[in-house]
């Protein structure tokens, strides 16, 4: 108990004197907790409308549309086996979108914090690697980084491709997280700057950016999840192609 109190005091102290830009750990925890509470409330309300064949509850209908949208995206970009990734992609979409929407009303939001986005990106890239290993096997997945078979005299080229691919995989973490952070945090900064411009005439000029920010909420959630689908498709499509090739060869043999 004493240790917990001490931890709390330390976190509060860090929150008050944070040298780093953005919300403190405690701030992020509060906003993330708020996001989860809103999400839980929405889902609890939506779940009440599950009993009927055709949903009438408007929130349930919204979640149904979201589910169908995610399903189309997964199946469209990954293939028929993309349906198994729907829970992961949908969770990501809901967390990112809701956090982006929170950024419209609050001075901070989880996705306006680079570390939160980096957490999502690292988890996603790890998940992609795990799925790649599960689909192609450990060595098959590593071989995938070396590019196409070039022959024994081209091993140095394959080695270079392997290194570039590994760096590319690592950079995916940064690209995913920085893009989201830049858009949401940048939106905040732009609104603050434009509001500062209109202070002398008492007009919140930054409010005119609201439609653009609303669009950003959807687009950034879409980009993050769509890229996740693309990464999953890149590491799992060999399996589908092999099956398709096998099926076509069997068909030709017949």
């Amino acid at each position: 108990m004493h240790a917990l109190l001490q931890l709390g005091q330390t976190l509060f102290a860090a929150a008050n004197s944070g040298p780093v830009e953005g919300a403190s750990f405690l701030g992020l925890a509060v906003y993330f907790g708020l996001l989860l509470a809103i999400l839980a409330g929405l889902m609890a309300y939506a779940k009440r409308g599950f009993g009927v064949q055709v949903f009438k509850n408007p929130i349930t209908v919204l979640f149904e549309h979201l589910y169908l949208f995610i399903e189309n995206m997964c199946v469209g970009s990954i293939g028929p086996n993309g349906r198994k990734y729907i829970p992961y992609i949908m969770t990501l979409w809901m967390v990112i979108f809701l956090s982006n929407v929170m950024a419209l009303f609050f001075p901070e939001a989880p996705t306006a914090d680079l570390n939160f986005n980096l957490g999502l990106a690292v988890m996603t890239i790890l998940y992609v690697q795990i799925e790649g290993i599960r689909t192609n096997g450990f060595f098959g997945h590593l071989k995938h980084f070396a590019g196409p078979k070039l022959g024994i005299w081209m091993i140095p080229i394959s080695g270079m491709i392997f290194c570039i691919e590994i760096i590319s995989e690592l950079m995916k973490n940064l690209s995913l997280s920085l893009r989201l952070y830049g858009n949401i945090h940048g939106g905040h900064m732009a609104v603050e700057s434009m509001n500062a411009l209109g202070t002398s005439i008492y007009i919140p000029i930054g409010a005119f950016l609201m439609p653009l920010k609303v669009l950003t909420c959807v687009v950034q959630a879409l980009i993050f999840t769509l890229l996740t689908c693309v990464y999953l498709s890149l590491v799992t499509h060999h399996d589908v192609e092999d099956h398709a090739e096998a099926a076509s060869s069997v068909a030709h043999a017949h």
Partner: protein
């Protein structure tokens, strides 16, 4: 997974207070606000959140939508089957109707043919019976005519004898006279 998430969450909380890396601090000074504790804790929370959402919300939603889609597909398939069956029944019915019409037409033709035969037969029988009756009537007339002639002839003989008796004043009714008169009348009939 959720247990790993709890560990990462605690580790991230601990790290946010106690982890101080010079590399990270230099990044912070460059304007990249990186705090590994937050990142680790975020991964931890997401690792807890993923199975929780999957179990309590996304799974049931998926199940409801899949169930509905399945029911819709089965309803459509059933409707398609019923449509096929209906088409088959319709063609069967039309074939049966055509067959029945053909049978009925044939039966009607047979009945008409039978009726015509019967009519012809009845007409033939009636004509034959009429001819028989006419022939019989003619025979009867002929017979009656002969009878009448016999009676007239007998009367003529009687009258002739009576007249001759009156002329000569004696009885002439003998078999010889009667035969002579009859022969004379017969010659008259032949000449007539």
């Amino acid at each position: 997974m959720a247990f790993g998430g709890i560990i990462l969450m605690v580790l991230g909380t601990y790290g946010s207070v106690n982890w101080h890396f010079s590399f990270i601090e230099s990044l912070n000074k460059m304007g990249l606000p990186i705090e590994p504790g937050k990142t680790v804790a975020t991964i931890g929370v997401m690792l807890i959140l993923l199975p929780v959402l999957r179990y309590f919300f996304i799974g049931p939603l998926q199940e409801v939508i899949d169930h509905r889609n399945h029911e819709l597909e089965s309803t459509f398939a059933e409707a398609e089957n019923l449509r096929g069956e209906m088409k088959k029944m319709r063609s069967d019915f039309e074939a049966r109707l055509a067959e029945t019409e053909a049978t009925a037409r044939e039966q009607i033709q047979n009945q008409i043919r039978e009726a015509q035969n019967l009519r012809q037969q009845l007409m033939n029988e009636a004509a034959e019976r009429a001819d028989t009756m006419v022939r019989q009537a003619q025979m009867e007339i002929e017979q009656e005519k002969l009878n009448a002639l016999m009676v007239i002839r007998s009367h003529v003989v009687d009258l002739t004898l009576a007249a001759a008796e009156k002329v000569i004043g004696e009885n002439m009714d003998t078999d010889k006279n009667r035969r002579l008169i009859n022969e004379y009348i017969e010659t008259l009939e032949v000449s007539a």
